[in-house]
Symmetry: C2
Subunit: 437 residues, 2 copies
């Protein structure tokens, strides 16, 4: 057995699939030195078999039907890289049903349908590995699941969508509008033609669902995540945040406390002297806080064919080693033993506390600041930082501030009162502030 | 089997040993949810059994003789936390000899005697795990060994000694001298009474030997590492480096290229806009460059009882899962299959190329700069940045510069010529510059 090659079937020959083939060929010698036997792609599927690809498929049996590959190919491991939740789900379940372990990069499938998939895998005693589903090449799943196994983890937070991070970085560095930065990202291939999935925070929420599950030992609960994207972030707020000493990043945040867990994705002000604030462009970064290790951080390429393929191959190597392992020897896919997974109440986001950033457009009248601060004081909200900017050429003045840490509903109550004042014009802009230390 | 507790024997009840006991007790429920069975310390050894400790040893069988525990205790895993290379070596080999896996935080033992230990472990088919030996709580060993298994890794570099990083940070932020910063570090418990091991770079070299081995698949070769500590770093060079846009950090650097590997520990100028440059205080950070993933980075607490215990417990969990695993199922301790480890030529440090920082003390005469730059030009060395500071009150002037990337011996030839000039006073200060991207 130990001299035989590990046979891999790859479903989907897009950017990541081609990367997997290319790297398993190019790095074959190094990988064999690690695994002790060759790892080769024997089968692959693609809808269009005639397309030119940036990898050698000469010795690979090609399939047009992904599910047929999963059902029939003579492989040891099935790698699912087509994305989506229809064919991918069918192929994944088909592979599992005949006892084949699956390696996948499909965060949507796992975040939304993972409980079913992991249950099926458990019944068949096969592995489902998904390092590539979160933060591309950064081995964050393994770090949390295995490297921090001695900890009770209370916080996982990170920049887990490279498209949004690129757009926000452009807006910060060039003063561009959201639309302008998005257009650049699209031109460079960092954003899809339809960017909804990324810029609305859905992709980040998929990844956060997975991170929260392996950090806290809870079943996947994507539908309970509060999600806000970055379309509403303006260059103006980015600039004011900078004055206050903050950067705006789209964060996925999972916290565990006495009252349950908080799961939220939203644009966030973070102090500009934290390492997380300095992770720019398409890079991803995740910080984890555990009661033993304190805070540890990870950064690297969150997307791209080769970086994601790096994670896929790490999973293939792990799975290959454990092909004949007994169930109790295997690392449970969601870090905790399946029977030990335990749903925790997910706090309504309105109850989640943090500091808040608030920007108001106000008439240039006397007494404005005193009335605004009186409302905050009456709600027991302290002002940590405040900026009033004089009007330019007949415009309204701007008041921006950062509050003490308070529950969202508490903050919203105060904002509603302010909004009702006659000299407050337009809509208030509110963003969360997180210190993460 | 799967309901029985994993029995752990801990050799050494110092800061880390106490942390292991405390965390295995305090986090017992969470750890059992992960492992599927309890993990308990049944035995522990300490030279002084009467000492008060910050952990509960009520149900623990206490031994005064570390080697006796390793030889006789009825445990599944032996954890070695006494450090040093005499008793620790004997206890480790004794445990292995009777088929008990060992978890250790002992970088000195592994870096200098690891080849013997891993060979013994292989002969007995037992695991030797050492996440805690490098960068404390950061799961860097697992990340390189497993998380980046799909890569051919060409560079590992990092801040892997918290004492030095603390001292250099103090010198940078407060303008303190080395001696002054060291005294503060000693007062705060960040440096030993005899700080030689840390400030001379030996501890970092121990860790680098381990990192290089698991990154490149080479046997441990601590004795081939070029090591330079931080005693010679002055606040003046730190300040000039800042003017040039650099920070000075003690780095361990392992590079693999066509001519072999470079293994060196030395104070290094790194660009101040890199994330590595921003890792301050006692924190550790490691960056890895692989041909699939690109650059990934890791940071966190590099020392401290709980952070190091976090890594020890992660190893215990891994080892516990694999207690009955067949050899081909186990992750090889040095990442590559033992028979695939392959020594590579270690380049003499004088042949290793990088940019260099040079500071010269020169008489305030006409023509100085032109003669210095003429020497550099005659050696085909470009000047990337240069600073001349006028003399103050009769002192010499200072010329500092950063060169293009050149082999060290090349640079040294030019420096020797400059040093021989009559207007160059005192000794030239040279430091390496690394861009790491």
């Amino acid at each position: 057995m130990s001299d035989q090659a590990v046979r891999v079937g790859v479903i989907g020959l897009g950017t990541v699939g081609q990367g997997v083939l290319r790297l398993l060929q190019g790095n074959a010698e190094e990988i064999q030195r690690r695994v002790g036997r060759p790892v080769i792609v024997t089968d692959a599927s693609a809808r269009d078999l005639t397309r030119q690809r940036d990898c050698d498929t000469g010795t690979v049996k090609l399939w047009q039907d992904a599910v047929a590959l999963a059902r029939e190919a003579d492989v040891d491991i099935v790698v699912e890289l087509i994305g989506g939740q229809t064919v991918a789900r069918e192929a994944t379940l088909a592979a599992i049903a005949r006892g084949k372990p699956v390696v996948t990069a499909n965060k949507a499938l796992l975040a939304e349908g993972g409980n079913e998939i992991f249950e099926a895998a458990r019944a068949q005693n096969v592995a489902v590995a998904f390092e590539a589903a979160v933060a591309g090449g950064i081995p964050i799943v393994k770090a949390i699941r295995e490297g921090l196994a001695g900890n009770v983890i209370d916080t996982v937070a990170g920049i887990i969508n490279g498209t949004c991070n690129y757009i926000l970085t452009q807006m910060t560095e060039k003063g561009e509008s959201f639309d302008g930065a998005l257009a650049v990202a699209q031109k460079l291939g960092y954003a899809e033609a339809d960017p909804t999935f990324d810029v609305e925070g859905i992709d980040a929420a998929h990844k956060l669902a997975i991170l929260a599950s392996i950090a806290f030992g809870i079943p996947l609960c994507f539908d309970k995540i509060s999600v806000e994207g970055i379309r509403g972030v303006t260059p103006e707020d980015i600039k004011i945040a900078q004055v206050f000493g903050y950067r705006i990043k789209l964060l996925g945040i999972a916290k565990r406390g006495g009252a349950g867990v908080e799961l939220r994705v939203h644009p966030t002000l973070i102090p500009d002297d934290t390492l997380l604030a300095k992770v720019d462009g398409v890079l991803n970064s995740v910080v984890v806080h555990g009661n033993a290790v304190g805070q540890v951080g990870f950064y690297g390429a969150g997307a791209g064919g080769n970086a994601t393929a790096s994670a896929v191959i790490a999973d293939i190597v792990d799975v290959a080693r454990a092909l004949d392992a007994a169930p109790e020897q295997a690392v449970p896919p969601l870090a905790f033993q399946p029977e030990a997974l335990k749903a925790l109440p997910v706090m309504p986001v309105r109850d989640a506390a943090s500091a808040f950033y608030l920007r108001l457009q106000v008439a240039d009248e006397p007494g404005v600041l005193s009335q605004l601060t009186a409302i905050l004081a009456s709600h027991d909200i302290s002002v940590e930082a405040i900026l009033q900017r004089e009007p330019r050429g007949g415009d309204d003045a701007i008041v921006a501030l950062i509050t003490s840490v308070i529950p969202q509903h508490h903050f919203e109550g105060a904002v509603a009162e302010m909004q009702a004042l006659p000299f407050v014009h337009g809509s208030a802009v509110s963003l969360r502030v997180e210190k993460l230390d």
